[in-house]
């Protein structure tokens, strides 16, 4: 019997967090640890620096590359706090999505694990080494280019140091309050790509009362 990808909506924040932590445990690859110590290279069509508040706004085809990490969008705010840490907020315009990509440290020889994120707003700071994806957020983890896991929700926090996700479906008014997680089979034939779909689970029925 072949394993099928698991796809299930999760109603609560806590449940989503638990599922995400479980997901992280199932995929113990760490992010490219050297990225946060590398310089960031940015390109854009235009930039305005507010010299008073030390906030820089880059617009038009914005791309940031920091080691293996890459972020892209239509607009990026950058500021450096008084301790020297950099903070970036990338957004997309016209209904598009900002993008995030990072390669993780190799754990298993021959397996390259990468993270791809999409959202209307993506925030990153190199103090926490944390990525916050907001509104129509989607995170995919791939191994050698094959989809292994996928998360979607209103807000996803990807902690690059701990390699964990915190997914929230209720942060924004009007959201359906559901987080969607798909975990690809681990026992499939080597090289077999993970397929979308799969039997949906409804874990909210099994959640204990009072779980938020």
């Amino acid at each position: 019997m072949r394993s099928m990808p698991l796809s299930f909506p999760v109603r609560t924040h806590a449940a989503a967090l638990a599922a995400a932590l479980a997901l992280a445990a199932a995929a113990p690859a760490w992010p490219e640890s050297a990225d946060r110590y590398k310089e960031a290279n940015v390109t854009a069509d235009h930039s305005t620096l507010d010299d008073l508040h030390q906030i820089e706004v880059l617009t038009g085809h914005v791309v940031l590359i920091k080691g293996t990490m890459r972020m892209g969008g239509d607009r990026m705010e950058h500021r450096q706090d008084e301790r020297g840490y950099h903070h970036y907020v990338v957004t997309a315009e016209g209904g598009g999505l900002a993008t995030f990509h990072e390669r993780r440290d190799t754990v298993r020889p021959g397996v390259e694990s990468t993270i791809d994120g999409f959202a209307e707003r993506i925030e990153y700071d190199d103090q926490e080494d944390r990525v916050v994806l907001e509104r129509r957020a989607l995170v995919k983890r791939l191994e050698n280019g094959e989809l292994r896991d996928e998360l979607s929700g209103v807000r996803i926090v990807y902690d690059a140091r701990k390699a964990t996700y915190d997914v929230d479906g209720r942060s924004v008014e009007g959201a359906d309050g559901r987080v969607h997680i798909r975990i690809a089979p681990r026992s499939g034939a080597p090289g077999e790509p993970a397929k979308p779909g799969g039997a949906p689970l409804t874990p909210e029925r099994a959640l204990p009362e009072g779980t938020r």
């Binding site: 235009h46 930039s47 305005t48 010299d51 008073l52 950058h78 020297g84």
Partner: protein, 196 residues
């Protein structure tokens, strides 16, 4: 014998004047000739100048230094060699602009700076010092306003941005990089947070 010496002296003097005139004409054509030719006749020049401009309340607005100033009487334009402009606004961080040469119009109300142009803004507790480098820059010193269409390099602390064209308004404290922006933001240094 005395008459012969006098004749030779006159010839040498005349040759020197002609050579100087020729050199100056070539210099004008090659460098600031476009502006200076239109600027009219030179009525005076000064070397090692230091000028201070004041506002109506008697407060210094900016100081101008140059190795040499050539003034054109009919237009009130000036040519400057190795100029240095220093803003003196008490409520703004000090800004300094230097270049190899400059042409000033309307009694210095606007400046066109050329060659190794460097503009620096002093740092303070909240902001690191900033430096702009380009080959051409226009400035309105009274307004603390600087702009260029040429390639420009902006360094704020350790962060470096390059662009084609720039507009720097030191009153609004805003820098606009117009096109093809490329930046490098080094990671935080443990020993030096906002290095000059």
């Amino acid at each position: 014998m005395g008459e012969r010496v006098t004749s030779w002296f006159a010839i040498v003097l005349l040759t020197a004047v002609l050579a100087t005139s020729y050199w100056y004409a070539q210099y004008l054509r090659a460098g600031l000739g476009g502006e200076t030719a239109r600027a009219g006749a030179v009525d005076f020049f000064a070397e090692g100048i230091a000028l201070t401009a004041f506002d109506p309340l008697g407060r210094p607005r900016f100081r101008l230094f140059a190795d040499r100033l050539t003034h054109f009487g009919s237009s009130d334009d000036v040519d400057l060699v190795r100029p240095r402009v220093l803003s003196m606004r008490a409520d703004q961080p000090q800004v300094q602009a230097t270049a190899r040469e400059a042409h000033g119009q309307n009694n210095g109300q606007s400046l066109q700076m050329r060659g190794d142009v460097v503009v620096t803004r002093a740092g303070d507790a909240a902001r690191p010092p900033m430096e702009l480098r380009t080959d051409e820059l226009r400035a309105v010193p009274d307004d603390d306003h600087f702009w260029t269409d040429a390639p420009v390099r902006v360094q704020s602390g350790n962060n470096v941005l390059r662009s084609q064209g720039m507009d720097f308004d030191n009153v609004a404290r805003r820098i606009e990089l117009r096109r093809e922006v490329v930046g490098v933001f080094p990671p935080r240094s443990k020993t030096c947070v906002r290095c000059p």
